[in-house]
């Protein structure tokens, strides 16, 4: 059933990445007063493109026991450091209002992905039950 593998399309990876980004932004906000802490963020478009690429190309497997590369997830290497508008003297680059804005935006987009997935589930259910 090839169809069942990509039922959710991009939203599956998107939801996972949004979830990871919540963690990164929460870490920035928690360390808002930590000296020498450098704020970080996920380059969302780049990571998602990478995930999608991995999905469409896949990994060549010569045996049924081999594991595919799908769902490798965002590793720490995908994290990038933020360029601060106004770095503080103690070496901290967290700008709390910016982080809060990014966090709110990320939460909304997470809910959007979740909604797309829910709608998809509802439509598949309709197709299965036929009413």
């Amino acid at each position: 059933m090839r169809m069942l593998d990509d039922i959710f399309g991009i939203h599956e990876s998107a939801l996972k990445l949004r979830g990871e980004r919540v963690g990164v932004l929460a870490a920035n906000l928690a360390n808002a007063d930590t000296p020498n802490y450098k704020a970080r963020d996920l380059d969302f478009a780049a990571v998602l493109a990478g995930e999608q690429g991995a999905m469409s190309l896949g990994l060549v497997t010569t045996s049924a026991g081999h594991l595919g590369a799908i769902g490798a997830g965002a590793a720490g290497g995908d994290l990038k450091y933020r360029i601060p508008f106004q770095p503080s003297l103690d070496g901290n680059t967290v700008e709390v209002p910016m982080e809060q804005a990014a966090f709110a935006e990320n939460a909304v987009r997470y809910q959007a992905s979740l909604m797309f997935i829910n709608r998809k589930i509802a439509s598949i259910e309709t197709a299965i039950t036929g009413n």
């Binding site: 928690a30 007063d33 979740l114």
Partner: protein, 141 residues
């Protein structure tokens, strides 16, 4: 599941900021404390924060993303303590002087505002993550 680690991270932020609020309260309460000896007088204290790298990854996975806060310790201010002439004070030394604490009230108040702002944003993070998780576990209903 990265969203569950948010609670650890934001929780460590809450703990660190409440520690800072505690030292601020102690500093403000002792702003007018005096002692008969320079070594015994209250000195302003504040916590030292550091990023808790790799503390929350129990399985040793590459979990650099979730970095909490850790309180390394409490340091006392090295600002000079002032000597005041108060012969009527029972704590005064033989020459009639008392030593006053080196708490800077304005600094302590600014510190308190900063700590409470960061505390609030951590609470906000926890609330939002909780809502997202609750919506996620009811996915497909």
């Amino acid at each position: 599941m990265s969203l569950l680690k948010v609670f650890d991270v934001a929780g460590s932020g809450l703990a660190a900021q409440s520690m800072r609020l505690n030292t601020t309260a102690s500093n403000l309460a002792n702003a007018d404390s005096v002692a008969g000896d320079a070594s015994k007088v209250y000195r302003a204290r504040q916590p030292v924060f550091a990023a808790a790298l790799r503390e929350f990854s129990a399985d040793g996975a590459s979990d650099d993303a979730a970095v909490g806060v850790r309180v390394l310790g409490i340091v006392e201010s090295q600002a000079p303590v002032t000597r005041r002439y108060e012969p009527g004070n029972p704590l005064a030394d033989a020459e009639g002087y008392v030593w006053a604490s080196n708490v800077n009230t304005v600094e302590a108040l600014a510190d308190m505002i900063s700590a409470s702002r960061t505390f609030q944003s951590n609470v906000e993070v926890i609330n939002t993550s909780r809502d997202l998780l609750l919506k996620t576990i009811t996915m497909g209903r």
